[in-house]
Amino acid sequence: MTWKQMFTSSVGKKFVMALTGIFLISFLVVHVGLNACIWANDNGKMFNVAAHFMGTTILVRIMEIGLFLGIIVHLVQGYILNLQNQKRRSVGYAVEYGNRGSKWYSRSMGLLGTLLLLFLIMHIWHFWTPSRFGGMWSVQPLSEVTYPGTQIEYHNLYAEMLTVFQNPIIVILYVIGCISLAYHLMHGFESSFRTVGVHNNRYLTLIRYTGRGFSIIVSLAFAMMPVSMYLGWVK
C-alpha cells in the first residue's frame, strides 16, 4: 500500500481527521493551562509572563505554524467529507425518526465545527492578531507593562481580556463557543481514538470517560474566563 492510498481512502481521510483532532485536543490542554493563570489574582502578571514566553520562544512559534496547519487541514477535510457523505443519499427518507442509538451532537459535528470556526475567527481577531501584529486590527492598542526586576516590556494581554470581556454580548458569544466546543469534543475525543484503531474495550472505556470529563472540564474552564472577568471575580 502506498502512503497516498493510505491517507486518501475513506478510512485514510478519517485518519487525517482523527490525527489532526487529537493534535488540536493536545493544544487545548496547553491553552487552558496557560489561561488559567488569570486566576492567580496578581493583576495578570503570571498570565502576561506566560503569554510572553509563548510569544517569544522560537520552538513555540514553529509549533504555532503547525497548529494553524492542523486547524486548516481539520476543517477543510471535515467540510469535504461532510459534503461527500451527504451526496451518498440523493433520495432521502420521508420519515426521519432521528437516528436511534446516535446522539444529536455526534450527527452534528459539521454544524458544531462551523460554530467553532466562527468563534475562532472572532477569538483570533480579539487576541492573537493584536498580540502578534500590534494594534493593527486590534480592538484597542495593546498597552505595554513592565514588572519590577525585569526590563522586558510585556504585552498586557490581561488588560486586553479585561477590556474585551466588558461587553456582555461578547461574553455570551464566548460561552456559546465553549458549549459548541464541549459537544464537539464529547463526540470527537472518543471518535478520534476509534478511528485510529483503538478497539480494546478496556482502553475504549478509559477513553470514553476521559473524553467526557475532558470535554466538560476544559470547556467549563474556558467559559469561566470571560464570565469571571465580566463579573469582576479576578483581581
Binding site: 478510512v11 420519515v95 446522539k103 455526534s106 450527527r107 484503531g197
Partner: protein, 259 residues
C-alpha cells in the same frame, strides 16, 4: 400476549423500475392478526391487490423469513427493519402496531443501493466487496481434530459475534453517511481474528475498503446509528478494529496493491 385484529393504513413506496421516479401510495388493510409477521401482512395486501386487478402487487425482498438470510429490507416508520431491536423485518410481528395506525414503508436509501422496484434494492455492492477480499484464498481442508489449531476463546467469541452479520444493509440504511463500515468491519473481524484468515489480514482489509470506496459508500463518523439498527447487534467495536487493521497495513505493507 393477547391476540387482536387491526385495521391499518399503509403508505408504501411504489417505483416501477430503476429509472422511474416513484412515490408513495396509500392502502388500507383490514383484519390483520397481531400474530402475523410484517411480511405476511404485506402478503395479505398483495393478495388484495391481485384480486382487485388494478395494479401490480408490491415487490419486496424476502427469502428465509426466519431472520437469518438478510434479504428482507424495509424502512418502517423511520427505522430500518422497524421498531423492534435486534429484529429483521420478517421477524417483526404485527403486535408491534396498534389498530388504526398509519405505517410508512420505504426502501433502503443509498446511492449504492439503487431501487430496482418498489421496496427491492440492488445490494450487489456488498457481494462485490466480499469478492474483493472477504474470503480465505486457499482450501483449508476438512475439519481438523479439536484443539489441533489453538484458537483463543476471547478471539473466537468475537469472530463468531462478527460472523452473525447477514449483510442485509440496515447499517447503510441507518447511517447518515450511507457508510458500509459496519458490514465490512464485521467481515474483516470475522476472518481476521481466526487463524485460517490471519495470513491475508492486510490484503483483505485494503482490498475490501478499496472496493467499498469504489461502490460509493460514505465514510464512518462513529455515530453508532448502524449498531442500533443492526438486527444481529454487530458492535461498532468491529469498525475500530478495521481501522486498526487498515492502519497497520498502511504502515507496514510494502507492495502496492492492485485491485
Amino acid at each position: 400476549m393477547e391476540h387482536y385484529n387491526m385495521d391499518l393504513t399503509l403508505k408504501i413506496w411504489r417505483q416501477k423500475n430503476r429509472q422511474s421516479k416513484g412515490g408513495f401510495r396509500t392502502y388500507e388493510v383490514k383484519n390483520i392478526s397481531s400474530e402475523m409477521s410484517f411480511l405476511e401482512m404485506i402478503d395479505v395486501l398483495n393478495e388484495q391487490l391481485i384480486m382487485e386487478g388494478k395494479e401490480d402487487p408490491i415487490a419486496f425482498d424476502h427469502d428465509c423469513r426466519e431472520g437469518i438470510c438478510g434479504m428482507c429490507s424495509m424502512y418502517i416508520n423511520g427505522k430500518p427493519h422497524g421498531p423492534w431491536k435486534a429484529t429483521t423485518v420478517c421477524q417483526l410481528h404485527m403486535r408491534a402496531f396498534k389498530n388504526g395506525e398509519t405505517i410508512t414503508v420505504e426502501p433502503w436509501r443509498a446511492n449504492s443501493f439503487p431501487v430496482v422496484k418498489d421496496l427491492v434494492t440492488d445490494r450487489s455492492a456488498f457481494d462485490r466487496i466480499i469478492q474483493a477480499g472477504g474470503y480465505i484464498s486457499v482450501n483449508t481442508g476438512n475439519a481438523v481434530d479439536g484443539n489441533s489449531v489453538a484458537v483463543d476463546k476471547e478471539k473466537s467469541d468475537k469472530a463468531f459475534y462478527a460472523a452473525a452479520c447477514i449483510a442485509c444493509g440496515a447499517c447503510v440504511a441507518a447511517c447518515k453517511n450511507s457508510s458500509a463500515m459496519l458490514f465490512v468491519s464485521a467481515k474483516v473481524s470475522h476472518l481476521g481474528l481466526l487463524p485460517q484468515g490471519a495470513p491475508e489480514r492486510q490484503t483483505r482489509v485494503v482490498s475490501m475498503v478499496a472496493q467499498m470506496d469504489k461502490e460509493g459508500f460514505g465514510s464512518c463518523t462513529n455515530i453508532q446509528a448502524c449498531e442500533a439498527a443492526c438486527p444481529k447487534e454487530i458492535s461498532i467495536t468491529n469498525i475500530a478494529r478495521l481501522n486498526g487493521e487498515y492502519l497497520s497495513a498502511g504502515l507496514t505493507m510494502e507492495n502496492k496493491l492492485t485491485t
